[in-house]
């Protein structure tokens, strides 16, 4: 039997590859989408009356302050303040580069996430996502956040793997 004869032909059975790519695409899409949405979240203290077991206000008139997560454009923060402060001290990260990056990161992640989930320009989306992760990696390397760099390395590997499998892209708005 020749080598070519021993290899499965793409047309024979590619469902495993197709499904593998589909879950990978969805995972990367969801990861980016939710990360992007979270950049519009904030935790606010909300005051409410404490209720008794019957659902009536506690006789003491007690008010409880509960942390509640809310979403809105007003809460947008591309990068946490703690990280921003560290980046600010890095001469290799001038503000003319970081400022637009902070301002657009959340929107870019949401857009890329949605595109991957629905399968719109999948390869370009994956490539763009890889570039975003590379940019984030640069910042984290400079401030010596090795754990974050490692995590991004895993993301990059998944993106690269997805690009390799992208020819099996199905259930998508556009084929590529």
């Amino acid at each position: 039997m020749s080598d070519t004869a021993s290899q499965p032909k793409l047309s024979e059975d590619t469902s495993g590859y197709t499904l593998a790519f589909l879950v990978l695409r969805l995972w990367l899409g969801v990861r980016a989408l939710i990360s992007g949405i979270e950049k519009f979240s904030a935790t606010v203290a909300v005051q409410k009356p404490l209720l008794d077991a019957s659902g009536n206000p506690d006789p003491s008139g007690a008010i409880v302050e509960i942390d509640q997560k809310v979403y809105g454009f007003a809460n947008y923060q591309g990068v946490p303040d703690a990280l921003k402060e560290k980046f600010l001290a890095e001469p290799m990260l001038p503000s003319f580069l970081t400022t637009p990056f902070y301002a657009t990161l959340g929107y870019v992640l949401i857009a890329l996430g949605l595109m991957l989930i629905v399968g719109l320009f999948t390869r370009i989306s994956l490539f763009a996502m890889g570039i975003v992760y590379v940019m984030l990696t640069v910042g984290l390397i400079l401030i010596k956040q090795d754990v974050g760099v490692s995590s991004l390395a895993v993301h990059i590997a998944l993106v690269a793997f997805a690009l390799v499998l992208s020819r099996y892209n199905r259930f998508a708005v556009t084929r590529r």
């Binding site: 077991a53 506690d58 003491s60 007690a62 008010i63 409880v64 302050e65």
Partner: protein
């Protein structure tokens, strides 16, 4: 009179500490003024005040505590200050001017007897003088048909405090004692919901409390503001220094166990449904050369609760602020609750053996700490000793106080006058609590265990 200052000579069980001459004079004035005022305002003696109209109030004692009460009261609607009283012209002028700025035109008196005789339409009086004058003033106003809010301690003597309870019962007027934690919603929820209803602590076997304060200087007074010597003598003060620093002297107050401990030992008694059975205590004037009262003291109380014996340790230190500030902590088989008027010291901890507390988080009785609560099971591997108990999971109490710290207690008093609430700390309840403090002081001097019996708090 002034909370930062004291009064007359020690002695009378009826009136707290008046000399015999002062006592006779006081009783004469009080009886006459009381009878006259009772006749002058029959309507106010018969029933609760209207829930709509302004309550007419007076404040006696414009020291630090008096100012706190005044400022808290001003935040409450439908209250009208009509008079203030202090033997120190400097404080009296301050109080009168402050209230005028707030829209309260008040009459100023340097003698509570004059105030009692001349202010005919008083609904209530707030007493924030040195402890020694609490009983005489409170008794006089109650007998005159005026409801009284009196700062703790009730008196510097057991008999003085007892006389206040007796007068409250005889006159049927309201007497709220200023243990303001009893109206603090965080304390009410802790006692009624967390401990009594949800039994989150399991069986409470122990408590500890403390108030540690750094060394402080004696209080001074502005130049040319001295009270004339004859006035000081009339009200029982040796001199201006003792008037300003009355808390350090035995004939005016009860020392740190009373000044600071009263609030916290009251919480022991409230939560354990005291008084205690016994008390052991030690203390002394270890640091300050010019203080009569001990500056540091420690006491151990034994309480008989429906679930069994509980022991409570209390310390008050006025020479160091180390050790985590001021709090009262109740330790049970399932959890520990640390209470404080300062929310930053307040927390609740779950023992590893206790059932899941998620339902209490859902009911908003507790909330996760800002940091992730420690998982008691996960910490088992980091034990140094095999018998070491797993670390407790920490939560916070989400109940907040959105008002001045004394405001809910004052509101409770005013609402009771209007007939829409029941007093949270009536004098008889406070007396049952404060007896533990009197006995702790006794134990310090006796240098042995002191036993309490119902006769001690019988009126």
């Amino acid at each position: 009179m002034n909370e930062t200052t004291p009064t007359p000579t020690a002695g009378s069980p009826e009136t707290g500490a008046l000399s015999s001459w002062d006592r006779r004079k006081f009783l004469q004035v009080a009886a006459t003024a009381g009878a006259a005022l009772a006749l002058a305002r029959p309507g106010r003696l018969l029933g609760a005040a209207s829930t709509q109209s302004d309550l007419r109030i007076a404040l006696i004692g414009l020291g630090a505590e008096g100012k706190v009460l005044m400022e808290a009261t001003l935040k409450i609607p439908n209250v009208k200050y009509v008079a203030v009283c202090d033997i120190w012209p400097y404080a009296l002028k301050y109080g009168q001017r402050f209230l005028k700025k707030e829209g309260h035109e008040v009459n100023a008196y340097d003698n509570f007897e004059d105030l009692l005789a001349k202010e005919k339409d008083l609904d209530a009086v707030f007493v924030a003088t040195p402890d020694v004058w609490h009983a005489p003033i409170t008794n006089a106003f109650l007998k005159a048909g005026v409801h009284v809010y009196c700062e703790k301690m009730m008196s510097n003597t057991i008999e003085g405090a007892r006389s206040m309870v007796r007068t409250m019962k005889e006159t049927g007027k309201l007497l709220q004692i200023g243990h303001q934690r009893r109206s603090n919603p965080r304390y009410l929820v802790a006692k009624n919901r967390i401990i009594d209803e949800a039994h989150m602590l399991g069986r409470v076997t122990a408590a500890n409390g403390q108030w540690n304060r750094a060394v402080s200087d004696d209080l001074g007074w502005p130049k040319n503001s001295d009270i004339p010597e004859d006035v000081l003598k009339k009200w029982g003060y040796e001199n201006m220094f003792q008037f300003r620093n009355w808390r350090w002297f035995k004939k005016y107050g009860g020392g740190p166990l009373s000044d600071l401990g009263a609030h916290q030992i009251d919480i022991f008694n409230w939560f354990f449904d005291g008084p205690p059975k016994t008390v052991l205590a030690g203390g002394g004037a270890d640091y300050y050369p010019n203080h009569e009262w001990f500056d540091n003291a420690m006491a151990i109380f034994e309480y008989q609760t429906p679930q069994g014996i509980a022991r409570a340790f209390y310390q008050v230190l006025t020479t160091t602020s180390a050790g985590g500030g001021y709090y009262e902590q109740f330790m049970g088989t399932d959890g520990t609750l640390r209470m404080s008027e300062n929310p930053k010291y307040t927390a609740i901890y779950r023992e590893a053996r206790a059932a899941d507390w998620s339902k209490f988080v859902q009911a908003r009785l507790i909330a996760p700490q800002a940091a992730t609560p420690v998982d008691p099971d996960a910490s088992a591997s980091s034990k140094v000793d095999a018998r070491e108990t797993a670390e407790l999971a920490a939560y916070r109490l989400p109940v907040i106080l959105t008002k001045a710290i004394h405001q809910p207690h004052i509101e409770n008093f005013l609402n009771a006058i209007r007939g829409t609430a029941k007093l949270n700390c009536p004098a008889d309840e406070a007396f049952r609590s404060e007896i533990a403090i009197f006995k702790a002081i006794e134990a310090v001097y006796a240098q042995k265990m002191v036993y309490l019996t119902p006769a001690d708090w019988t009126v």
